[in-house]
Amino acid sequence: MKDWQPKILAILCNWCSYAGADLAGVSRIQYPPNIRVVRIPCSGRVDPLFIMKSLQSGFDGVLVSGCHPGDCHYLSGNYVARRRFAILKPLLEFIGIEPERVQFSWISAGEGERFAEVMTKVTNDVKKIGPAKRLVKGVQK
């Protein structure tokens, strides 16, 4: 357990958060290597099923990040997504999934620094609560 490192899935929108990750990269800003990135066109594309599937497949944490409100490339994608997450998040906590497991943020293309901060925070949060057990499918038994 001492050597345990969480696996965290970051689902990033193409136009802002992914570009933010890029900026963090080219600016050589350090952030934890626990992050695996999936690029999607817009946070509005994120089906809650993606998040559940990630947890089921063994990710210890999931972060979804899109453009700041008002900045969506498709004008309203992140607003629609926000409503969805606004219900998903309390529902997951309700059934007993730790709030740290699934998190949401807005990161713009210019926020490389912030991208690294958010990744660090999510990683530390998940490290604190330990490996995911709930909802994980036991294929590795």
Binding site: S57, G58, K137, V139, Q140
Partner: protein, 363 residues
């Protein structure tokens, strides 16, 4: 016939559990199913029918066919002790015998064991089935429509009648006779095999016992309404295959799988792989012809696109196709589907409607 005092039922189950994995009706959270038990106290004797079908003892909802990893395929371990099932109602006993025709034999290629189902056979072939008589059938029961009856001994190894303070046990199959024989021997044996002697405290049934059994049987039969004549139902169904009557009969069906999943004879399944990286397992899972995805092909074409088509398939398979292949209907009249159907489809009414239909195609 032998008698087992109910006071000694717990000893009986405990001793049975030494040689067998014993399944019996257990109720948890208001719903009952057949589960492994170690003592009589866990058994819910009051239930006429379990909510879940006992087919899951031998054909579980989800069953691992094999596991695999980088080194290749590993077959799942074979069962250790044989299985004994206590208290299966006549309908459920019969359903297992029907499933054995499907899984245990190779219809198309007789004597070709390649076409037998090893997962079913390794559990069912060595099993010991205690059938239990129904002294008070429910209004949803219709076993007598399909050649069964509340006191039907068919396919049981040992048939048990609950006669108040005692269980009366009638050996039926050779396996059952051997078991009862061993028990009576043990009862006669001295205390040197203490455990066995205690567990097997059975005695020969008296004339009064036999009389009581016969009374209970005729009483139970009298409680069931006269069945309609199902002769020729299979051909009749084929005749009306293309008639509009199906539209009417299936109108309220919402195509869920509740009927199929509580059915004691429905046995369709899906095979899927679950794994990650190079490791995983191939499993089979219950499936139902009620679901649109059941027949939908990769191209998107679905030979049974409508709700009506799928409803029809289930009825046809049970009361016509299975008759062609195995000589009897794939239904034992347990009535579980009647009880659970969320929209009140009653298969008995469907059958009656088919029998009374006088349009084209009916003979």
């Amino acid at each position: 016939m032998v008698r087992l005092e109910k006071g000694k039922f717990d000893d009986f189950i405990r001793s049975l559990a030494e040689d067998y994995i014993v399944y019996a009706a257990v109720t948890t959270g208001g719903k009952s199913s057949f589960k492994v038990v170690a003592s009589a106290g866990e058994i819910d004797e009051g239930r006429l029918l379990t909510d879940r079908s006992p087919k899951e003892i031998f054909f579980p909802h989800s069953e691992v066919l094999f596991e695999y990893d980088e080194d290749g395929i590993r077959e799942t371990e074979k069962a250790g002790k044989p299985i004994a099932v206590w208290g299966l109602r006549g309908c459920d006993v019969k359903s297992l015998a029907m499933l054995d025709k499907v899984f245990g034999t190779a219809r198309q290629m007789p004597d070709n064991e390649m076409f037998e189902d090893p997962y079913w056979k390794r559990k069912y072939d060595n099993s010991l089935i205690f059938g239990l008589a129904c002294n008070e059938p429910r209004s949803s029961c219709f076993c007598n429509w399909l050649g069964g009856g509340p006191h039907s001994e068919d396919a049981s190894d040992i048939f048990v009648i609950d006669a108040g303070d005692v269980f009366l046990m009638q050996p039926v199959s050779d396996k059952g006779k051997a078991f009862i024989g061993k028990m009576t021997d043990a009862a006669g044996a001295s205390a040197q095999d203490e455990k066995r002697a205690a567990g097997a405290s059975v005695a020969k049934a008296s004339g009064a016992d036999e009389k009581k059994a016969a009374e209970l049987a005729s009483g139970a039969r009298a409680m069931m309404a006269e069945p309609p004549d199902l002769d020729g139902l299979d051909e009749r169904l084929k005749g009306i295959f293309h008639e509009d009557i199906w539209e009417e009969m299936s109108a309220k069906c919402v195509n869920c799988g509740a009927c199929a999943f509580v059915c004691s004879t429905c046995h369709c399944f899906d095979v899927q792989d679950e794994g990650k990286g190079g490791k995983g397992k191939r499993i089979r899972i219950w499936d139902s012809c009620m679901f649109p995805i059941f027949t939908r092909e990769a191209s998107g074409h679905n030979p049974r696109p409508l709700s009506r088509d799928r409803f029809k398939q289930r009825v046809m398979h049970k009361y016509s196709y299975f008759v062609d292949n195995y000589g009897e209907s794939l239904c034992t009249g347990c009535g579980r589907c009647v009880i659970v159907c969320p929209v009140g489809v009653d298969i008995r009414e469907v059958i009656k409607r088919v029998l009374s239909f006088e349009g084209k195609g009916a003979r």
